[in-house]
Amino acid sequence: MTSNDEELDDFEQRTRALLQESVSRIDGRLRSRLNQARHAALAELERPRRTSFWRSFGLAPAAGVVAALALAVVLWAPRPGQMSPVAEGGSSAVEDLDLVADGETFDLIQQGDGGFYEWAVAQADAGPEATS
């Protein structure tokens, strides 16, 4: 060991003593906070860890995929005896979803503008001469 190493060792010993002293001087308030933190952490261990039945068999991802597929089938599959929404109205189910999800449109319908739509339907039924 060189003299330089010995100096480093001496320095290291002094810094180590100082660090230990600084730990011993941590006040009671902080010690109490740390104690509380420790007990809060240990309370997690005492709490019974309850795992979902599905998760216990590793079926949660599979159940999610099945649910997504079922939703897709419901949205896109045509009902018996009824044309596909896409073929009938030229709009897709996704657009229908957008319509439902659009809060502004929903509010407009709720505000009682039904009269305008009834008038528009009557005009369309009467034919082109009624509008001229």
Binding site: E12, T15, A40, A41, L45, E46, T51
Partner: protein, 209 residues
């Protein structure tokens, strides 16, 4: 516990009502006691390490508490000899997260010159808060000055150097344990530690605590 024993215990787990599986076992109390002893043995040093990096009492407490919680939640069933390196690795990650968040927040605050950071009002209160009654006022002052100088010097070290130095010199871990805690080779630990010592020595000189 062998892999076979682990599997056997899973398949023999009783199924409780309401579709949940109760995995509480009789070893919980023993684990809790051992974990309590371990956490009690590291909490003060861990706080000093976090405070040295963050220089903020509340943040340091939060970091230690988070590390305790994460160790308990995720690694309580690991062998007790693994807890120390795991705990300090979690703590260091938490400290790094806080430092990053602080950097981002400082950048954002730079755009808001009128804003005053309320956290800064707490200020950094060094260890001199509660001096020991056994030392004389003069000696206490010398210790306070030496500690403050050492803490400032430690804070200015690069993260990895400070971590290596404190885990070796404050926590008393050997090189292999520090390497496990830092997730690097033993050679890297030695290099970081040597550089830390060199930087501290150059800065503090022959201080005498």
């Amino acid at each position: 516990m062998s892999a076979f024993a682990t599997l056997a215990s899973v398949y023999n787990t009783p199924v409780a009502m309401h579709g949940d599986v109760d995995i509480t076992d009789s070893n919980t109390t023993t684990d809790s006691r051992a974990l309590n002893q371990f956490l009690a043995s590291v909490e003060l040093k861990a706080f000093k390490i976090a405070q040295s990096a963050l220089r903020h009492e509340h943040d340091a407490l939060d970091a230690v508490q988070d590390a305790m919680l994460q160790l308990t939640r995720a690694y309580a069933d690991r062998p007790a000899e693994e807890w120390r390196p795991l705990f300090y690795r979690i703590l260091e990650n938490r400290i790094r997260d806080m430092q990053r968040r602080r950097t981002v927040r400082a950048r954002i605050m730079a755009w808001l010159p009128a804003h005053r950071d309320e956290d800064d009002e707490d200020g950094f209160d060094p260890i001199s808060q509660a001096p020991s009654e056994e030392v004389t006022p003069t000696r206490r002052l010398e210790l306070d000055e030496a500690m403050t100088a050492l803490e400032e010097a430690l804070h200015d070290l690069p993260n990895r150097q400070r971590q290596a130095f404190l885990l070796r010199n404050l926590e008393g871990m050997d090189v292999a344990q520090v390497a496990a805690a830092m997730g690097c080779s033993e050679g890297s630990v030695k290099t970081h530690h040597f550089r830390a010592l060199k930087a501290l020595r150059a800065r503090l000189g022959e201080f005498s605590p």
